[in-house]
Symmetry: C2
Subunit: 335 residues, 2 copies
């Protein structure tokens, strides 16, 4: 049988209330009482029962994190940031990996609606905006990474994807490229859409006409990137560079080039987004846009915790800087 607060109280010859006060560092208890109680707690190795406490206090000191795929280093870095901040504030973190499946995402959310978490962070969520608003209306604190919703209970953290994409494409242009392919991600993803916008803006800024036929969808993953690039190559179009909306898809392009004897960056320059863990190990190493993933995680978690603690006036929106990482894949004569 587990030890409970009354057991401690009896042995320490005080009331459960007093034990509770000691546990919660209530300064009102007399130091001697306090010490006596602590000693008993120590001896019995008593640990308060979370469920009882949660029930009484109507909070759980737990954050739920819903993430598309924990294996993708972009997500993992964010989770690590969240985890670090949460831990520092004595919060626990429940991780839910949706495998990029909207139904699984919904299912997890349903699971978490049982008030086993005080707040939720959605990373690269596929959920329709209305459903996220619903969560917030239900009183759950919601943190969002990679998209933006303006609502009282929704805290947003993201980077300026338009600018990031523009930087990447302008870098390619500065290397002399004018016929630049854009490999896009999910059609409905805000990130993907913004990167397309940046791509178009960069072209515009240099008076290069936008050619829709140079845009292909690769669904943000390696196979998708491979297939997209293959389709593109089959079209017989002329191009000398690729801007891939993330590094994963760039891996697919590397694979295709490898198989077909296309030399990188000699015959084809390429740049990605995310600064995935593998990118710097590739040959040639992949130029990319580094997102401050870890910091984004820290920041959402920080905001969310403040919000859950009833703090007012937390900025609903934070936009962090991402920056260009130039490696070998986008630079001529780099070796």
């Amino acid at each position: 049988m587990d030890i409970k607060i009354v057991d401690v109280a009896k042995i320490a010859k005080v009331s459960p209330t007093t034990v509770s006060r000691v546990l919660n560092n209530n300064p009102i208890v007399k130091p001697e009482t306090r010490d006596a109680v602590l000693k008993v707690i120590e001896e019995l190795r008593y640990v308060p029962h979370a469920a009882a406490k949660n029930l009484r206090q109507q909070k759980t000191m737990t954050i739920g994190v819903i993430v598309s795929d924990i294996k993708v280093s972009y997500n993992t870095d964010i989770v690590k940031g969240i985890q670090t901040k949460a831990y520092a504030q004595k919060y626990k973190v429940v991780i839910c990996d949706t495998q990029n499946d909207l139904d699984i995402e919904r299912e997890y959310l349903r699971l978490l609606m049982d008030r086993s978490v005080d707040g939720v962070i959605l990373v690269a969520s596929l959920l329709p905006e209305q459903e996220i608003v619903d969560l917030a209306e239900r009183g759950l604190a919601v943190g969002l990474i990679g998209r933006r919703i303006d609502h009282d209970n929704v805290l947003n953290v993201h980077t300026d994807n338009v600018k990031a994409a523009k930087d990447a494409v302008e870098h390619l242009i500065s290397q002399g490229h004018r016929d630049i392919v854009f490999l896009s991600g999910y059609a409905n993803a805000k990130d993907s859409y913004d990167r397309l916008e940046g791509y178009i803006k960069a072209l515009g800024a240099h008076s290069i006409p936008f050619r829709p036929e140079l845009v292909e969808n690769g669904n943000f993953n390696e196979t998708g990137g491979y297939e997209a690039f293959k389709r593109l190559s089959g079209k017989g179009l002329a191009f000398t560079a690729v801007f891939s909306a993330n590094d994963e898809m760039a891996l697919g392009v590397y694979e295709y080039c490898n198989q077909n004897g296309i030399s990188l960056p000699g015959e084809l320059a390429i740049i990605g987004v995310d600064n995935d863990r593998v990118s710097k190990y590739l040959t040639p190493s992949l130029s990319t846009i580094d997102q401050p993933k870890y910091d984004m995680g820290l920041l959402v978690a920080d905001k969310l915790i403040r919000c859950m603690n009833g703090e007012m006036g937390i900025p609903r929106l934070s936009v962090l800087e991402s920056h260009l990482v130039i490696r070998q894949s986008s630079v001529m004569y780099s070796r």
Copy 2:
């Protein structure tokens, strides 16, 4: 104010008991009653309160996973397996990342002793055996990956590290190497120790004397591998191949070779362990021992859940097969 079971009961004109029965799929309730209740639940979007339920049932349907570093793909793959199994059984997963810090690991464990989880899985735990046994004695179900403890409440899943290491080293020997460096991990890690044993066995099986000066410690990480190999190179010893106790450390060796113009695998063959995500993207691609990480995750989670549900006769120990993945880094004239 949140909706609770009595609210549903009142509107559905039944007792809370009946609502509870419906929620828990008790077949005793009359179909019509059931449907009526379900309709109200739906309308009110009622979700049972986890803490209340947990308190009453003395369980939480949650598994705690303590992991050394969620960014290491070895760990992530395991976590993914755990997560998948847990989800399929309606369990939640709390992830705790210790950053390879024993004190943080202890702290997390203390956090989880509040009965907010029904069981714990330790991946690459640094905890002294006695402390793990303590957990088990306290009634917590414990799953262990990467080490082995024989105790009633402890479920072990690991691979045969001795054999894996032996396979790797014999592969190098088969390629003509006789002077083979061993890069070890943490001195106190079972995995590391077993791999050393396999290394020695392989040498013995081919009548190659074991030379302790060819063993260096790299602490299982990239920088450690770099430094260890640097120290070794400074010793002026002759060797033609490296067996690295994991892929991470091999990355450090690649880096060193890159900087010092040592060609792989021409001048130096190398093989690692883990089949890290980056390994196949390296140039030359890294030969390695693939561990069934995902399956190990699935399996511990499965065992743990059975154990938590009071199932008897679950095997305390499962040893999965790992296998050699030969790529370019260990094979002469491979390109």
